[in-house]
Subunit: 140 residues, 3 copies
Amino acid sequence: MSLPAAKSLHVDTRGKGTYGITREIQCFLNDCGLREGQITVFVRHTSASLVIMENADPSARRDLEEWFERMVPESTPWFSHTTEGTDDMPAHIRMALGRTSETIPVVGGRLALGTWQGVFLFEHRSAPHRREIILQAVGS
Amino acid sequence: MSLPAAKSLHVDTRGKGTYGITREIQCFLNDCGLREGQITVFVRHTSASLVIMENADPSARRDLEEWFERMVPESTPWFSHTTEGTDDMPAHIRMALGRTSETIPVVGGRLALGTWQGVFLFEHRSAPHRREIILQAVGS
Amino acid sequence: MSLPAAKSLHVDTRGKGTYGITREIQCFLNDCGLREGQITVFVRHTSASLVIMENADPSARRDLEEWFERMVPESTPWFSHTTEGTDDMPAHIRMALGRTSETIPVVGGRLALGTWQGVFLFEHRSAPHRREIILQAVGS
C-alpha cells in the first residue's frame, strides 16, 4: 500500500456501549507500512463517538457508560428533537461531549498508544447499528 | 495551490449558536486539490469550539445548544473569572467540553464526512464575534 | 531533524491541575524545522487529558478545574471501579470529556494558536504523576 492510505472499517454494534477497535487500527498500520507519521480515526456518524479509554478493567468502561447515561437523561422533558425516539437527542449530545476524530502518532512503525490505552467506538443509540469509521495514514 | 496548504477562514457570529462551515471546507478542498490525506480544522479561540453535528433537522442543534446552556449555567455563583461578564466563564467551559481541532480524512478527493454530518463553529459568547478558523491540508 | 518527526515530552505533575506545555511544543517546532503542516499532541494516559485554554488570567483555569471537580464528584456512590481510590473513576470520566489528541496547524513556520490560546496538560489524579506526551510533526 502506498502512502497516504485510507481504509473504511465497519463495526456492528449491539446498541449502547463501547466497542474496541485498537486491533483493527493496528492491522491497518501493518498493512499500510507507515513508519513515521500519524493515523487519524474518524467516525462518520453524529450519534456515536470515539474514546481512548482504559483497556484493562471493564468496570471502568461500564462506569463511564453509566455516567454518560445519567448525565444526559433520556427522560429530559424539554427536548424537541424526539421523532426518532427518546434515545436520539441524548445520543447526539453524548457524541458532542466525546470525540469524532482522534489522531494517533506512529513512531518507528508503532502506534504511540500508552500501555493502558485502547481505542473504542462509543455507540450511543439503543438499537444495533452498523457504524463506519475511516482510518487515514499520513507520513512515510 | 501546492501541498501542504492552509487557509484562514473568518466567521462573523451573531452570538451564541452553531454556524455551518462545511461548504467553506469543501471549497478549500477543491482549491488545494488534495486527493488523499486529511484536513485539520482549528478554531483560534477559547470561548468558541467545533462540533460535527447532524446537518438535517435544525431542532437537533437547538436542543444541543440549549443543553450546553443549562449544563454550565451563567448564574453559577462561585465563578471567580467574571470581569468580562456572566457568559465568559461558561463559554470557556463549554469550549473545553467541545473540540478545538477536528481532523477530517480526504479519500479520492472527497471529504469523508458521513451523510448527516456537518461541521459547525459553536459560538459560546452572547455578543457577535468575528472568529478565525485555520484549515490545513496534508497529503498528496 | 528530517520530517516527519516525533518527540516524547515528560511532564511531572503535582496532582490535579493544568500544566502549560506551549513552550515545549514551540521548541519542538523550532527543532524540527517544520514550515507548513501540523503538529499532533497526544497524551498517553487515560486519567489525564489536553485542553487548549485561555493563557492570560489564571482564574479562568482555576474555575475550569473546579467545574470539572464538581461535575464528576469523587463521592459518586454508584462507581464500581474504585480499587485505585475515589479519584480514579472521576479521572477517567473527566479525561473522556476532554481531549486525548489535538492537532495544531503550522503556517509559515509558526504554530497557528490564537493570541489567548495556551496548550495545557490536564492532570485528573490527586497524586503527582510523570506524564508522557507525544509531539508529532507532519508536513514540509
